[in-house]
Amino acid sequence: MSNDQNAIDIKQLTYSYPTSTQPVLKGIDLSVRKGEFLSIMGPTGAGKSTLCLTLNGIIPQSLSGTMQGTVVVDGMNTTTYGVHQLTSKVGMVFQEPESQLFAMNVQEELSFGPENLGVPPDEIRRRVDWALKVVRMEQFRMRSPFRLSGGQKQRVAIAAALSMYPNILVLDEPTAGLDPIGKMEVFSVVHDLKNMQNMTVIMVEHESEEIARFSDRIAVMNDGKIVLLGSPRNVFSETETLTKIGLSVPQVCELAKKMNDGFRREKPYSFMTLQEAEDVIKKDFPRLSSGKFAAPNRPSPATPTSNDAAVQVEGLHFEYDKGVEVLRGIDLTIRKGEFVAIIGQNGSGKTTLVKHFNGLLRPTNGRILVNAAETAQKTVAQLSRTVGYLFQNPDHQIFSTTVEDEIAFGPKNLGVGRDEIEKRVAEALKLVGLEDYRKVPPSTLGLGQRRKVTLAAIVAMKPDVMVLDEPTTGIDWNGSLQLMDSVTELNKQGHTIVTITHSMRVVAQYAHRTVVLANGKVILDGPTREVFAQPEILKTTFLAPPQITCLAQDLGLDPKTLSVDEFYSTMKELGA
């Protein structure tokens, strides 16, 4: 029997899609209390999105397939009530803003649901007003979705679900494609929903630090099952299990684990947030935060020996429309063999800048040199021999029926001989670890693997310089590490790497050098260690160093700390 106190009761849920005999969900048991905030974590393909779709009856009513077990939301069995009836119990928010906002303006988007349910106009107006207020978008009522930022779009998507007055809100990776500001906006709205509206919230998310802050409980899924379920403190103390299935945990949790293994105290350490870690360390290790210590001088990651420029940007100005300057005077030299990260909010000009490297955009003023030759006279196709460009969305280039054809496309365009192509395809497949997928249609692979295919497709062209636009966005931590490890391997082979990213952990772990853009200008440029040591400047553009770096800085330790290992060894060196 379902419990009255529960918003959701899932019993022995097994499901397989109509196109496959392999179940995606394998015997899920899960109850969620009313007003609870449950986060779901899990690697790609664990069944998280599928689980979400069972909550408003789309599975099994619209996507047929084979379902066993029961799902009861707010006392309603999802197989006996229609999807339209369940929509006023369960609101859904998906990952992609572009494919869930289909109206001409914000108000139409919000009224669409209640209109379908036949709610009287006056009542719809009240709901729209309320929902806009909750997501703080009142002043955008008549705005077209084209003129909203990513974070604003997701807030509209949340409001559109809220206008149906659900008791339960399900969010499937709502921040995956957003920049740091957008993520902050969405998390703060979701936080309000829990605290002020007493909404039951189910959120699939990869951002472990935010999960630790907001969740009452966390469910960790792997291979169609729930493998861990409990409070953030309990779940995040299982660092080994989580790392094994490829998930990231907040860096302070990693630190607690290291301290417990190293110091062997009776009562183990457990940190959930930056603040908590800071407080405990201050109390237990007063010597650390006394400020009287010699900061160990850590070397910056090995920088390239060459001083030749791979890409040289001189006095670059660029405007899309007359008078609207996106890049406002950029001078930048990227040396051969460097691994450079470019960070900044959306709209700061990151993509616009790197699109100049292979001629996709041409300077309004200034010039670009690649390998000391001016790019002005060369076509994009000609430049593709020296500069490879990995686009953010792999679907924007995949067209072949097999992975190997996809990878061979670039070299073929360059007129490479057949034997050589064969050799390059094999090498590229090996680099990204897709040897077994040679003959598979790339469009059927998951996002992480599709992105590996597109990376391999660039690698096979053997360009000196590789530009990567948000290569890890939307893929899980393990996938991100695999991809970036391949990129590091390329860097070691001598390729110059320029990557745009929003993940500060990726930056800290991989990039020699970091360039920070804001409003079309470079505001910081230097070794990654030096850049993250200037949190005040980063703050002006709403960026923050990785959590462990912040902890070191807050405690007055080495402000250039980049990893948990470094932090921990500082502790030891200082005799903690």
């Binding site: 779709l53 789309i58 619209s62 229609g82 999807v83 339209h84 009836q85 929509t87 006023s88 609101g91 859904m92 998906f94 992609e96 572009e98 494919s99 869930q100 289909f102 001409m104 303006n105 108000q107 139409e108 009224s111 669409f112 649901g113 209640p114 209109e115 379908n116 349910l117 036949g118 106009p121 719809i124 107006r125 084209f146 003129r147 559109a160 679900a161 149906m164 899309y320 699109k355 996709l360 076509t379 994009v380 196709a381 593709s384 490879g388 460009y389 686009f391 969305n393 679907d395 924007h396 280039q397 995949i398 067209f399 496309f409 670039g410 365009n413 360059l414 469009s443 660039i458 062209m461």
Partner: protein, 260 residues
């Protein structure tokens, strides 16, 4: 980098404020009149009327020119070619072998061009002064089933999105060494396969997700749909509609009585 594919011009004007249904009916009447009327004077009156409406709507010269330019090639072609194929009538102005050009044939050419202009300008008037959403709502209230109205609205909404995706895919393939502008016509066309295949895959992915989103917002609930902002005919709208009908009737009567 914003791309606008819709023609709507945001303005405050009596034409903008008019109920979309009145505008839709007006345009329909204008089109029928354009087909029926053959007399150049009657056509010029109608043309003048539409231009006046555009002036009241405070449409800029730039937009006038845009509308005119769009149909200019067609207008010129019709005016020039009509006399070559319509060879009857007197007086004959010029003849050379099989080519016989008469005054009535020239007038018929001009009349045919005017007809096309009237139709095009009626359509431009509607699109310049009515937001797409309002236009679709007008159609639905005139009897278009809601499902079709929604499909139309979504199609219009996603035109710029797909425009952007196509440009992005072209960039992505160029970055892989594809020379899109090289080779003869056939080769160039074939190269667009590398652009269109990803477009189709992206579109299908998007459509899948979109249908989940739409369904999650109770689309297709078996209840009578309500509308937050319903269209309301004001007195002015009624009067304008009546005047349009009277004007139309006048033109038709003129045609029957005076064979305009």
């Amino acid at each position: 980098m914003s791309m606008r594919y819709d023609l709507y011009i945001e303005r405050e004007s009596p034409i903008h404020r008019l109920d979309p249904r009145v505008k839709l009916i007006g345009v329909a009447l204008g089109m029928i009149a354009a087909v029926l009327l053959t007399n150049i004077i009657a056509q010029l009156i109608l043309y003048g009327f539409i231009i006046t409406v555009l002036l009241i709507a405070r449409v800029t010269w730039e937009k006038f020119w845009f509308a005119f330019r769009t149909i200019l090639p067609v207008s010129v072609m019709i005016t020039l070619l009509w006399p070559l194929f319509y060879r009857g009538g007197h007086p004959v102005l010029f003849s050379w072998g099989p080519i016989i050009i008469s005054l009535p044939s020239i007038l018929a050419g001009i009349s045919a061009a005017l007809r096309i202009n009237i139709m095009a300008f009626s359509a431009f008037t509607l699109l310049y002064t009515t937001p797409q959403g309002t236009l679709v709502r007008g159609m639905v209230r005139l009897g278009l089933p809601y499902e079709y109205g929604l499909s139309l609205a979504i199609a219009l909404r996603y035109i710029p999105t797909f425009g952007g995706i196509i440009l992005m895919i072209m960039d992505a393939q160029k970055s892989r060494g594809l020379e899109l502008d090289k080779g003869n016509f056939l080769r160039k066309t074939l190269k667009y396969v590398y652009v269109m295949a990803p477009v189709v895959i992206s579109a299908l992915r998007m459509a899948d997700q979109l249908s989940l989103a739409i369904e999650s917002r109770a689309y297709g609930a078996p209840v009578k749909r309500t509308y937050l902002t319903d269209l309301k005919m004001r007195l002015t709208d009624g009067v304008v509609l009546a005047l349009l009908v009277v004007g139309f009737a006048g033109l038709i009567a003129g045609k029957l009585v005076f064979s305009l």
